[in-house]
């Protein structure tokens, strides 16, 4: 498509700014937004923009943004919850939902006014879309072109399983997998891409192969007894953090269709993994671009003052950051932090101060567009903040750090927005977005395949934080999949392991 990147002066008739949108008008705005996006070198997947109703938006909410989802009661529960809170007016619905797929699907609500639709298109179809295509996490963890096919495959596969094996069994398996969903990702190893053709081709083969491998675990080999004294055989040889993967490959009694379901949940978990780690960046990037693109259109005279006022009203609502003592405060708003950071990076490039030159010698005064693209492509929230959070922004946000030790009966202010505090605030804020600090660290350390096949997991606390109360419940689910004893141990001060949860519960109660 060949478009001129700048409009000549005689063409500047403003686009219609009436509140009601039409498909024709959506098309006109889309064309202009696409032109400006290209001007700023935003590379995107093809956009598929779908207009939906409120109810369909609640559907999308319930299925955690998957356009095609398998049937499960938890989605029904989420739908009812969303519907309830929405009907009571406790919650507004998002203006859009965008899906990391190729073509990139964005849902626009039919209730939005025309300026809102333009905002949403710039935000989702060019902001988020280019982030999905450009960021290294998405590039290496997800395959946008095949996700829709894979979701369709999983929906059909699970429906088939329900017909063959009954709804209750499939539901129990899915429940168990959902409980462990956060532990279905290889954090340190980059995964292979999901390809539908490959999946289908190899699925049968894999099912048979796995079953045969598992049977091998059962085989009684007479020689084993002699060897046992010589060597304490430990399986797995290294601790496994990907619990679902370990179950899929090694659970002795799982049926092959159950293994496939474990795999499906694992793959979907992996698909969402980058989104969890890039919330600030992703939203910040999208906000930055809807702001920049629409202002660009305004400068060209393509949108009216009326349009801009409505747009700015919505925009400021989205990127507002209430202060810690406000009744609206619920933590740091990722939209606000991300948006301001990208704006700030642009400022550092275009109008650096002495302080910026000292803190960011490599980007101060550089080409802002190059720098911004580089930042978007190569970071996640944690590294992005520790790399780019400037002292000016810390001052603007008046950030301060609170140190809370459960052993003390007070909390301490660790650092504030001053010269001595900048580094520490930045460091602590970055840590706040480090997923490995937020999610619990649990690894499989022993499966005891020569003995009673009891599965042992180790909880490694972060900053002495205990494992939450739900551990026993989750363990029941793990027991359902493993089907032999499971327990979690935690290293005590003395160095020995203490069992903190197990399933089934031992008969002798304290």
């Amino acid at each position: 498509m060949v478009t001129k990147n700048t409009k000549t002066s005689e063409q500047t008739t403003a686009l219609d700014d009436c509140a009601d949108w039409t498909f024709e008008l959506l098309g006109q705005y889309q064309t202009e937004i696409a032109r400006v996006a290209e001007h700023y070198r935003l590379s995107t997947y093809t956009n598929q923009i779908e207009v939906i109703t409120t109810e369909q938006m609640m559907d999308a909410y319930a299925s955690i943004g998957m356009p095609i989802g398998y049937s499960h009661w938890t989605f029904g529960k989420k739908f009812i919850q969303t519907e309830q809170t929405y009907k009571r007016g406790q919650m507004g619905l998002a203006y859009e939902i965008v899906i990391n797929s190729d073509p990139c699907i964005s849902y626009l609500m039919e209730e939005n006014t025309m300026p809102m639709q333009a905002l949403v298109m710039a935000h989702a179809c060019y902001g988020h879309n280019s982030f999905f295509k450009g960021n290294y996490l998405f590039k290496s963890w997800t395959d946008a072109s095949s996700i829709i096919d894979y979701l369709l495959f999983s929906k059909n596969y699970i429906a088939q399983c329900e017909q063959k094996h009954g709804i209750s069994e499939v539901e129990a398996t899915l429940d168990a997998c959902h409980a462990l969903m956060n532990h279905g990702v290889d954090r340190y190893k980059r995964p292979q891409k999901i390809s539908l053709d490959e999946e289908l081709k190899r699925q049968e083969e894999r099912a048979e192969y796995l079953q045969s491998q598992v049977n091998a675990l059962w085989r009684t080999v007479p020689d084993m007894k002699k060897e046992k004294n010589i060597k304490q055989y430990l399986f797995p040889s290294e601790p496994q953090e990907n619990i679902l993967y370990f179950i899929e490959k090694n659970a002795p009694l799982l049926k092959s269709w159950q293994r496939e379901i474990v795999r499906i949940v694992r793959k979907i978990s992996q698909y969402f993994y980058p989104q969890k780690q890039t919330q600030v960046m992703n939203e910040g990037w999208a906000c930055f671009w809807h702001y920049t693109i629409l202002n660009h259109l305004y400068d060209e005279g393509l949108v009216t003052d009326k349009f801009m006022l409505e747009f700015l009203h919505s925009h400021t609502n989205v990127v507002a950051q209430p202060e810690y003592n406000s009744k609206f405060y619920s933590g740091i708003n990722p939209y606000a932090l991300g948006f301001n950071m990208f704006i700030d990076i642009r400022r550092i490039c275009e109008h650096p101060t002495e302080e910026d030159k000292q803190y960011f010698p490599d980007i101060a005064g550089s080409n802002w567009l190059d720098t911004l693209h580089f930042a978007m492509e190569n970071f996640k929230d944690e590294s992005f903040i520790s790399q780019y959070l400037s002292p000016k922004l810390i001052r603007d946000f008046k950030l301060f750090h609170i140190h809370d030790d459960a052993k003390d009966n007070f909390v301490e202010i660790g650092a504030i927005h001053n010269e001595q505090g900048y580094q520490q605030v930045r460091h602590k804020l970055a840590n706040q977005y480090n997923l490995s600090n937020l999610e619990v660290n649990i690894q499989i350390i022993d499966a005891n395949i020569d003995g009673d096949r009891a599965l042992t997991l180790r909880y490694i606390p972060y900053h002495d934080i205990e494992l939450g109360n739900s551990k026993t419940e989750v363990l029941k689910h793990l027991h359902y999949l493993w089907q032999f004893d499971v327990k979690i141990v935690q290293e005590q001060a003395g160095g020995e392991d203490k069992i903190i949860a197990q399933c089934p519960e031992p008969n002798i109660q304290k």
């Binding site: 696409a34 029904g76 429940d175 462990l180 202010i413 649990i442 606390p461 972060y462 739900s470």
Partner: protein
């Protein structure tokens, strides 16, 4: 670069399946909530759905998450008063949490209830799952008394109001084609011959004249075939079809003598509510007749039925007689499905009980679909129960049950109407 798709017209209720899965999964909790909710209703209130309340912890999906204790570092915006090194005392409540024992497993979770609405259909389905109306099949065939007029094709005779114009004109066209085909064929031949002669170099005056006369004659004869004939007329035909009646009447009989207190009446009320809701699943129109009695019976409205107090002895047969009178007067048993439900604490004048039995057997049971008697009492059974018990042995459409407390009502109701596979066979 972009495709627009209008999804608004796509099928709605995409998550209906998931909703059904949810209801299925929590059936036990929901059923309990439904059974509780029955107490809050008026007898004839069936239009509304119901709010279902499930404790939130039953719904939670557990995942591993971080618990209490340890060291936490948080960054907040909007510092307005703090400098590095400031210490702020924790509120005492938090202190307690820090030293919490591992045993206090569920107390940390929010105990809010999860409330949502189910539709009327879902409500009734849950309430009456696995229940069926007794004796429905057996009686239905000999009670086909209402007729409905239905279309049944076309016929050649009828009243002008029923003429079907399209069918009639189709007949007309067909008849005209059939009656003129040979003449038109002839006409065509003559016209062709005439044309041939006219184009010929030589004159054929005589022949041309003859042909012209023939053509005119044929044209006249074709024109003479009438446009429409009585033979063409088709009339819409109607037939009468018997349909099972969808009307039902429910008789609520209750003892209001001094021995019945308000609590007992409340229990009876719940039983009537259940019966009404249950009947409303099958019948479109339901009349409810309230008959209360002590020594005399009287037809009253709902409010008076449940909330007015009378004193005096008890003669149950008076109510049964009144019921029989009302049936004869207003509810012809060939047009109405009649259901009766009698509630009492078992007190009755001893000499009256055999009389009750004979009225039931001779007058009421032959006309009713089902008659149920519930006795709400903590005491031993008296004569009425014994006589009724005999009746229930011999009559399939009569049932008696004993209710001691509120919790018995729903189980007893289910027992009365549960699907009986043996009888059906």
């Amino acid at each position: 670069m972009a495709n627009f798709i209008d999804r608004r017209l796509n099928s709605k209720n995409k998550s209906t399946v998931n909703r059904q899965r949810f209801l299925r999964r929590y059936k036990n909790q929901i059923k309990k909530s439904v059974a509780d909710a029955i107490n809050q209703r008026g007898v004839t209130d069936i239009e509304s759905g119901e709010n279902i309340v499930i404790p939130k912890k039953d719904l939670s999906e557990p995942i591993f998450h971080q618990g209490e204790g340890g060291v936490r570092d948080k960054v907040h915006p909007g510092n307005d008063q703090f400098i590095t090194g400031d210490r702020i005392n924790k509120p005492p409540k938090q202190q307690g949490q820090g030293s919490g024992q591992g045993d206090a497993s569920n107390s940390g979770e929010g105990e809010d209830d999860f409330t949502f609405s189910i539709s009327k259909e879902e409500y009734l389905n849950l309430l009456f799952e696995d229940l069926e109306l007794p004796n429905l099949e057996k009686n239905q065939l000999d009670k086909l008394i209402e007729y409905k007029t239905v279309r049944s094709g076309f016929c050649a005779e009828g009243v002008p109001a029923n003429i079907d114009i399209v069918k009639s004109l189709q007949g007309s066209i067909a008849r005209r084609i059939a009656m003129t085909s040979s003449k038109r064929k002839c006409l065509k031949e003559c016209q062709q011959a005439l044309e041939k002669l006219q184009q010929d170099k030589h004159d054929h005056v005589q022949e041309e004249r003859e042909l012209t006369v023939q053509i005119n004659d044929l044209k006249k004869r074709i024109a003479k075939v009438p446009f429409i004939d009585t033979f063409d007329l088709r009339f819409r035909n109607f037939a009468k079809q018997a349909v099972p009646t969808s009307k039902a009447v429910m008789f609520c009989l209750m003892d209001v003598s001094g021995s019945m207190d308000q609590a007992t009446k409340e229990m009876a009320k719940r039983f009537y509510i259940l019966l009404y809701l249950f009947l409303s699943r099958t019948y479109k129109n339901i009349d409810v007749v309230y008959i209360r009695h002590h020594t005399q019976a009287k037809e009253v409205d709902e409010h008076e039925f449940f909330y007015s107090q009378e004193t005096g002895g008890t003669i149950a047969s008076s109510a049964l007689e009144l019921m029989d009178e009302i049936i004869t007067e207003r509810y012809n048993d060939s047009q109405w499905n009649i259901y009766g439900a009698q509630a009492s604490d078992g007190d009755n004048w001893a000499d009256d009980s055999p009389h009750c039995k004979s009225i039931l057997i001779n007058k009421i049971l032959p006309k009713t679909r089902y008659f149920s008697y519930i006795e709400i009492t903590q005491r031993a059974h008296q004569t009425l129960w014994q006589h009724y018990h005999n009746v229930s042995q011999t009559h399939a459409n009569f049932a008696i049950r004993h209710i001691k407390e509120v919790a018995d009502i729903y189980p007893v109701f289910r027992e009365l109407f549960k699907k009986n596979t043996k009888n059906a066979a």
